[in-house]
């Protein structure tokens, strides 16, 4: 049984995304702890990448700031080791295939297991290419999270059948970033997912306020929020932790 399952045992899950090292790793650690304290169910930690092709301008900015500050994969591993002293909720990494591949997949995923990372989200690794890392993830018991998009159509059942951890349902076309409105017929997609798996399904991309989060969580098992949190970090920098905490609380309260 995947440890990630625990994130969905406390009502609908709220999943904040945080780019590690924006503005610095000390702040990231504080932000994570504040998020946990205020009801986050699972933490998605972004390992920065120079060219994040699935991200909109907000998260691109966070990646650039983090890398400019000297963050590396090894330093992120150290951060997780520190967090795991007291953070017990599931944590996953979100990064790009090259970050894992270039580190050495075996070494990267083996380290994930050792330091307590439960899953891996790689937006540039579709179903057809998951063999690149799936056998190694299986070996170390790290869930390789599948993404399903509004354009997945006939691919949904194929992806859902082999999904592990949770399914990341992309709410809209395009890249990450806040949206005023989400028009995709997510209910129909979730229905097909449910017919094929009992792995939980959380919706991300474009969710920025409690109303949207409540709507998304109502049709699925949880809401993932990235850009709205990064905007807080962009605005408040090192002072962000308490603001992120308040934000997480408002979101969790809305979807409970």
């Amino acid at each position: 049984m995947s440890n990630i399952r625990k994130a969905f045992e406390n009502g609908k899950a709220f999943i904040p995304f945080i780019t590690c090292g924006d503005p610095d790793l000390e702040t990231t650690a504080k932000v994570v702890r504040e998020a946990v304290k205020n009801g986050a169910d699972l933490i998605e930690l972004g390992i920065p990448f120079s060219d994040p092709t699935a991200e909109g301008p907000v998260i691109q900015g966070a990646n650039i700031r983090a890398l400019a500050g000297g963050v590396t994969t090894d330093k992120v591993f150290e951060l997780v080791k520190d967090l795991r002293k007291d953070v017990t909720i599931p944590m996953v990494f979100m990064t790009y295939a090259n970050v894992v591949f270039s580190y050495g997949a075996e070494k990267f995923i083996g380290t994930c297991q050792k330091i307590g990372i439960d899953g891996l989200i790689l937006p540039d690794l579709p179903f057809e290419e998951k063999e690149e890392f799936q056998p190694i993830c299986d070996k170390y018991g790290v869930d390789l999270i599948s993404l399903i998009a509004p354009t997945s159509e006939k691919r949904i059942s194929m992806i859902a059948k082999e999904a592990q951890g949770f399914i990341y349902l992309v709410s809209s076309l395009g890249v990450t970033g806040t949206r005023s409105e989400i028009k995709t017929d997510l209910e129909s997609i979730v229905k097909v997912i449910r017919e094929n798996t009992d792995v939980p399904c959380a919706i991300g991309f474009g969710i920025s306020n409690p109303e949207q989060a409540a709507k998304m969580a109502a049709v699925s098992d949880g809401a993932i929020v990235g850009s709205a949190i990064i905007k807080i970090l962009e605005k408040y920098g090192k002072e962000s932790p308490k603001y992120v905490g308040e934000f997480v609380k408002s979101m969790k309260d809305a979807i409970r």
Binding site: N98, S102, Y103, P126
Partner: protein, 396 residues
């Protein structure tokens, strides 16, 4: 050379967001259908011949040959194509394919601007909307091409992220494609990106080597000893190489942009300085740091200023079928000036990288040997930048 999931040895593949998977699969199906469709091929051949001015000449560079005193040098004149570069071959093919698929809008990335101009041209011809993403840095280096694209009715979007060059233009075009797929075809300009692009682009560019083969057999009665082309993503090179891959006696030489030298950080010589990675939809060689962060590469040539190389080139390198040599800014600029003065031909600064290596190689070969250099584009667009390189400021 391709297996069904688009692999060239270990390279290639489809490392893209789920959002795009149906689009690339739809493209693959359409391409597999139309590539064998006589009607499609007839239309494309007509566009090649009547519109783009194919076949392009294979010109015997007699003065250059005499001056260098070694192998006979032929120039494949892709610079004489409509829009001034080989890029039009691929674009006409993809635009026609997109039209057959019912798409009404083309988006493209561009480095030097040649692919953007070609895409804008095809869009104008076929009555399609066109948006071109171009690194802001490149819009400055290639201001004339920006104007040409706008004149042709395209919208040019300067990309400010990252190094504001070709790689960022590719990233931005991919982002745009994920937000608008239904009516939009991403007209990728090189033999890179996710499958099926490396195969589609290669097939449309393979007309170059098909013609070289026919032309050299007609002129010399035999195949060349070496074919030389510049390599950024690698579309003109794979076009010039493709029909010679099985002819093992023909040396295939790709010239990478070494920038200020492969022992410096200011280089874009991917095969020479990079290692295997996964980026922009493909597994191939990339310039990157120890943590897999893509390197901010540099070359005087905006068209070669890219941190990766097409997966088929990576494979040809792995199996030793092609070699990839670094050529510096300095060598390329010298070759640019040399070809202008010696043959009265101003090559694109990209193509000048191939000329530069030929200038080193030819004198080492016997006079009965034959070299073909692919002059992938013409150099009008580069005159202002080369003048600047030489310390002269001219206004375009």
């Amino acid at each position: 050379m391709t297996n069904p999931n688009g692999r060239f040895g270990i390279h290639g593949g489809q490392y893209i967001p789920e959002t795009l998977m149906n689009a690339v699969q739809e493209l693959e199906q359409a391409y597999n259908h139309y590539k064998n469709d006589p009607e499609f091929n007839k239309e494309l051949e007509e566009l090649f011949n009547e519109y783009a001015g194919r076949p392009s000449r294979l010109y015997f560079a007699e003065k250059m040959t005499e001056d260098l005193g070694g192998a006979k040098i032929y120039l494949k004149r892709e610079d004489l194509n409509h829009t001034g570069a080989h890029k039009i071959n691929n674009v006409l093919g993809q635009a026609l394919l997109a039209k057959k698929m019912g798409k009404t809008r083309l988006i493209a990335e561009t480095g030097a601007g040649q692919h953007g101009v070609a895409t804008a041209t095809a869009a104008a011809l076929m009555g399609m909307e066109c948006v071109v993403f171009m690194g802001e840095e490149d819009t400055k280096r290639q201001a004339l091409n920006v104007y040409r694209m706008r004149l042709l009715g395209a919208e040019v979007i300067p990309v400010k992220t990252g190094t504001a060059t070709l790689k960022d233009a590719v990233s931005e075009a991919m982002r745009e494609w994920t937000s608008r797929i239904d009516d939009t075809h991403y007209c990728l300009g090189s033999v890179m990106g996710p499958h099926p692009f490396p195969t589609i682009v290669r097939d449309f560019q393979a007309v170059i080597s098909k013609e070289i083969k026919e032309q050299i057999l007609a002129k010399e009665g035999r195949l060349p000893d070496a074919v030389i082309a510049c390599v950024g993503g690698g579309s003109n090179a794979i076009g010039a190489f493709y029909n010679f891959i099985e002819d093992k006696d023909v040396q295939l030489i790709g010239c990478e942009a070494a920038g200020r030298g492969i022992d410096t950080y200011e280089t874009a010589a991917t095969v020479n300085t990079g290692r295997v990675g996964i980026f922009h939809g493909m597994k191939s060689y990339f310039c990157q740091d120890e943590y897999g962060q893509i390197a901010p590469v540099y070359s005087i040539s905006a068209g070669l200023d890219y941190p990766g190389v097409g997966p088929e080139h990576a494979y040809l390198y792995d199996i030793g079928r092609a070699q990839y040599v670094p050529v510096t800014d300095d060598e390329a600029v010298n070759a640019f000036e040399y070809l202008a003065k010696t043959e009265g031909i101003i090559p694109a600064i990209e193509s000048a990288h191939a000329v530069a290596y030929a200038m080193k190689l030819a004198p080492t070969m016997d006079k009965d040997k034959i070299i073909v250099i692919n002059i992938s584009g013409r150099g009008d667009k580069d005159c202002a930048a080369i003048a600047r390189y030489r310390g002269e400021d001219i206004h375009e």
